[in-house]
Amino acid sequence: MAAIAAGSVVAPTGAFGLLETAARAPMFGVCASAVPPGGPGLGPTNVVVVWEDGTTVTYADSTNVLEQVLPPATPSLLGSRVTYNAAAMAAIPAPGGRAVGPVILHASGTNAAGDSTVQDFVVTQTPLGFLTFPLSLAQVVPG
């Protein structure tokens, strides 16, 4: 997998608080330009991103702050109601179905350097906010 470059779809790492709800869904951007990384494990530098809302930001070092967003590797769960797998996540409570919601995003992701494991994740719209978790922990809820 290549590092972020012009045309890459990106999202801010800070928007993905796994298993904790966020007030807003992750915003997407497209890379306008970037200086290739200086070595393995490093993201590109001077990364210019144009976000959905038209704002543009230059990131001096993208290594820890940007993620790459890719098409999902598995059939999309867009619109399906899901929650996290209770058996796999027994330590995380979900009283009253508050962790259940429709999927608004199903994608694959990797880091800015392009050298981490590419894995599918979903973002759901729950009564408490937007919840992100790996697809491996997702469980479809009928309805």
Binding site: G7, M27, V30, V50, T55, T56, V69, L78, L105
Partner: protein, 148 residues
């Protein structure tokens, strides 16, 4: 070839046009914002593009790229000649876009042709207001729901 992006053109960000089922299968949480080009240095591709956005902000884009790596796209005429605005539509079975419990169904709020910064046609796009957000997708991916 059509004319490149220039002063007075209406544009959107490429990020707001990420369309299911392509870069990622998603619905956006708001409708794409439109802007008008205030000034630009002729290209191709154009550079130093200043856009006045619908929310009143103004942004200078030194580089907007070209073709599939562009960060700004121009709105143009929808070539199908079929006006779907305000019609209730849903993804077709062939589109690859799932529609469980009809959650990807809704009225069309926007329909336009999309052009890259050089003026080349990219796609005819519709924005569908669904119960879970704004679905941006190709015109060919939706069908009118006759019962609604």
């Amino acid at each position: 070839m059509a004319a490149p992006i220039d002063t007075g053109d209406t544009v959107v960000t490429a990020a707001a046009m990420l369309a299911a089922p392509s870069a990622a299968a998603l619905v956006h949480q708001s409708q794409p914002q439109r802007g008008v080009v205030e000034s630009a240095t002729a290209g191709p591709p154009p550079t130093a593009v200043t856009v006045a956005w619908a929310d009143g902000t103004r942004t200078l884009y030194p580089v907007i790229g070209s073709g599939p790596t562009s960060v700004l796209l121009r709105l143009g005429t929808a070539p199908s000649g079929v006006a779907l605005l305000n019609r209730v539509v849903q993804p077709t079975a062939a589109s690859g876009i799932p529609n469980p419990s009809g959650r990807l169904r809704g009225p069309v709020s926007q329909q336009f042709g999309l052009e890259d910064p050089s003026g080349n046609f990219v796609a005819e796009v519709v924005v569908v207001e669904t119960p879970i957000g704004a679905l941006v997708t190709a015109f060919a991916n939706v069908e009118v729901v006759l019962s609604a």
